[in-house]
């Protein structure tokens, strides 16, 4: 292993992260998606909400020079829809993940730190939430409330925190038994201070990694709900594009260009998040990579160019074996 990565500063974090190729690829993928969402009006060739005159020739028109990804059943440009659709998918993903992680983190730290009855109560509640199937419950809640963008964010957020809570609780349990917590208590620090200054900094890396992974889950959930027709019909998301393609005969029309882009978009973002999350995990928890005593490639002394390592009989040897 190379010198210990200093993960306590941003630049150190970046230095460690840079070496992780998959992580960097994930980051680039995610940044591209975010860039597309932010600059949607500039990138999209058409306004997906502008009325279009429908003729028999321009519904499900295959990709052409005017419509790079063809048109859908309403003669609208698929590429523009795809670009605008990333906005909703990413918005839901980020906000829902934020809600999830906030709830999960809070419950995890509280349960882990205070223990006793508080912990029992919170963790049993988590267990109950964990065994309730997310999707049917989400469908029920969205169906009962207005299927608006914020309702969907809210529903995905309040159903997705259980894993985070368990993860954070276990980390808190291990951190709170460390000596420096007792030391802080001896100094006179209160519970709030100890949680803020001593527990959270050590739980945070876990939370960051978890957030990135939860984003991908939230985006998948949003797509699922939209595909099932439980999204705000006035907003345009990838899941909804799939829903329309599915319910309005794109399949039977053989219009693959309507189905493929939103599916590709979802896979792209989810894959990007997963790679980024795993890359961050590698940096923040180096123990995943190698055991500190493992004799890896990095531990072998590399030969300095121009110098020769002499073998036992004075012969130059090619490799330096351990």
């Amino acid at each position: 292993m190379t010198a210990q990565t200093d993960i306590t500063s941003l630049s150190g974090l970046w230095r460690g992260f840079r070496g992780n190729r998959m992580g960097v690829i994930g980051l680039v993928m995610l940044l591209l998606a975010i860039g597309m969402a932010v600059f949607a009006p500039a990138l999209a060739p058409y306004d997906p909400k502008a009325p279009v005159k429908v003729t028999i020739d321009n519904i499900y028109a295959p990709p052409s020079r005017e419509h790079l990804l063809g048109t859908d059943d309403a003669a609208k440009d698929v590429l523009s829809q795809f670009i605008y659709g990333s906005r909703v998918s990413l918005t839901v993903g980020f906000f829902a993940a934020f809600i999830s992680v906030a709830i999960g983190g809070w419950i995890g730290v509280t349960a882990g730190f205070w223990g006793g009855k508080v912990e029992t109560g919170l963790m049993r509640f988590t267990d109950v939430m964990l065994v309730i199937p997310d999707l049917p419950l989400a469908v029920v809640i969205v169906a009962l409330t207005q299927p608006s963008l914020w309702n969907i964010i809210f529903v995905i957020g309040i159903l997705g925190w259980t894993g985070t809570a368990r993860l954070v609780r276990s980390q808190t349990l291990s951190v709170k038994e460390r000596k420096f917590v007792l030391r802080a208590r001896a100094i006179g620090a209160g519970n709030g201070y100890i949680v803020r200054r001593h527990i959270l900094p050590l739980v945070l890396p876990l939370l960051v990694v978890n957030t990135v992974l939860v984003i991908s889950l939230a985006i998948l959930n949003e797509s699922t709900l939209s595909f099932l027709g439980l999204s705000d019909p006035t907003t345009l998301s990838w899941g909804q594009m799939l829903n329309y393609a599915f319910t309005r005969g794109a399949m039977s029309a053989g219009a693959w260009w309507v189905l493929a882009p939103p599916g590709f978009g979802i896979v792209w973002v989810v894959l990007g998040c997963t790679l980024l999350g795993q890359g961050l995990e590698r940096v923040l928890n180096p123990r995943l990579e190698t055991h500190h005593l493992a004799v890896g490639r990095q531990m072998v002394v590399s030969r300095v160019k121009g110098s020769e390592v002499r073998g036992s009989e004075g012969q130059p040897t090619d490799t330096l074996t351990l």
Partner: protein, 347 residues
């Protein structure tokens, strides 16, 4: 009986800490409480260095945590009295106790590696104590006036001063624990303990996991600081050599009780408790090179299955009938020498 039992000032210096009959029990559901510490008494005077020795698990650390009322949840102080400057610490509210900790009594925890938060700078963690207690203690010997540490920035000069005091450059306060060596971490812990100018410092095995050279440096540092700052120190250790070198008085614990309590010379030249005697035999003595080391057979008693009589009786080579049925009281032998053994009372 002894040539020089007590250093002269050990009888006249004011008593800071008066511990009487402290008993600590650990309770767990469905099991009888385990007595980790039973009826321990001692007295700590100003400027005194008390060595607390005993095997692992004999209650040394538990006793120290009890003094600061920092026992884990399962532990409780069943009886006894801990007077610090005339105030009974056991009667204080949690708030008042928090004030006493660090400003009155501070502790250098066992294992400096774990007592420092790995993701925060050392200086930041030292400043914690200063900010927590809101006072910038007057700079030592420099005559600077006392200030109030409202934030970490204001505490920075004092943090640098504390680090210098323990032999670490002030410029290293911005570094993280992993950038420190083992000895430096221990020094930093000592600096942290001194932050609020306490009168009593408890050093709980400050030299474990350090090599002999660094161990000597740390002990020398503690001794120097004690003389310079007029501290009273309780040195918890299981190294008798260390005790002989730096301590004034020694408290030998066995299985949660006081085996022997006396001035350091008395303990080493005229030990009365069989346990102390065996313990000394188990340590190499450079002045008597021919002597073979003798270990004490057996194991310390389990706290949940204590022998009915003297706790050392099962391992004691000179135990007689009474030892197995009746626990011995702590007998005062002369001026400053206590031992809990039936043999002593027979004399």
């Amino acid at each position: 009986m002894t040539d020089q039992p007590i250093p002269p000032d050990m009888t006249t210096a004011p008593v800071l800490l008066d511990v009487r009959g402290v008993t600590v029990e650990f309770v767990s559901k469905g099991q009888p409480p385990a007595r980790a510490v039973e009826c321990v008494s001692f007295r700590l005077r100003k400027g005194e260095m008390l060595g607390l020795v005993g095997e692992s698990g004999c209650g040394k650390t538990t006793l120290m945590l009890a003094l600061l009322r920092l026992l884990p949840e399962a532990g409780r102080i069943v009886c006894g009295q801990i007077d610090f400057l005339g105030r009974d610490l056991l009667a204080l509210s949690e708030q008042q106790m928090a004030e006493v900790r660090w400003t009155g009594i501070s502790i250098v925890f066992q294992g400096a590696m774990n007592a420092l938060n790995p993701v925060r700078t050392v200086g930041d963690q030292i400043a914690e104590a200063l900010v927590r207690h809101g006072t910038l203690a007057p700079a030592l010997h420099s005559g600077a006036s006392a200030g109030v540490a409202r934030n970490k920035k204001a505490a920075a000069p004092r943090v640098g001063e504390l680090l210098e005091l323990v032999g670490i450059g002030a410029n290293r306060s911005g570094q993280y624990p992993h950038q420190y060596s083992g000895g430096m971490r221990q020094r930093a812990m000592i600096a942290m303990a001194l932050a609020c100018n306490p009168q009593v410092v408890i050093a709980d095995e400050p030299t474990t996991a350090l090599d002999v050279m660094i161990q000597a440096q740390i002990l020398e540092l503690l001794d120097t600081l004690r003389h310079r700052l007029g501290l009273s120190v309780i040195l918890v250790t299981h190294d008798l050599g260390v005790v002989a070198e730096v301590c004034d008085t020694v408290l030998v614990m066995y299985g949660g009780v006081v085996a022997e309590y006396a001035a350091v010379d008395t303990i080493f030249n005229d030990p009365q408790h069989p346990y102390t005697q065996r313990l000394l035999h188990a340590f190499p003595d450079l002045s008597k090179p021919e002597e073979a080391l003798v270990s004490i057979p057996g194991y310390p008693p389990r706290l949940d299955a204590l022998p009915p009589g003297c706790r050392f009786a099962p391992r004691c080579p000179v135990a007689f009938e009474r030892c197995h049925v009746e626990p011995p009281a702590l007998h005062r032998l002369d001026g400053f020498h206590w031992a809990s053994c039936h043999l002593v009372s027979n004399q």
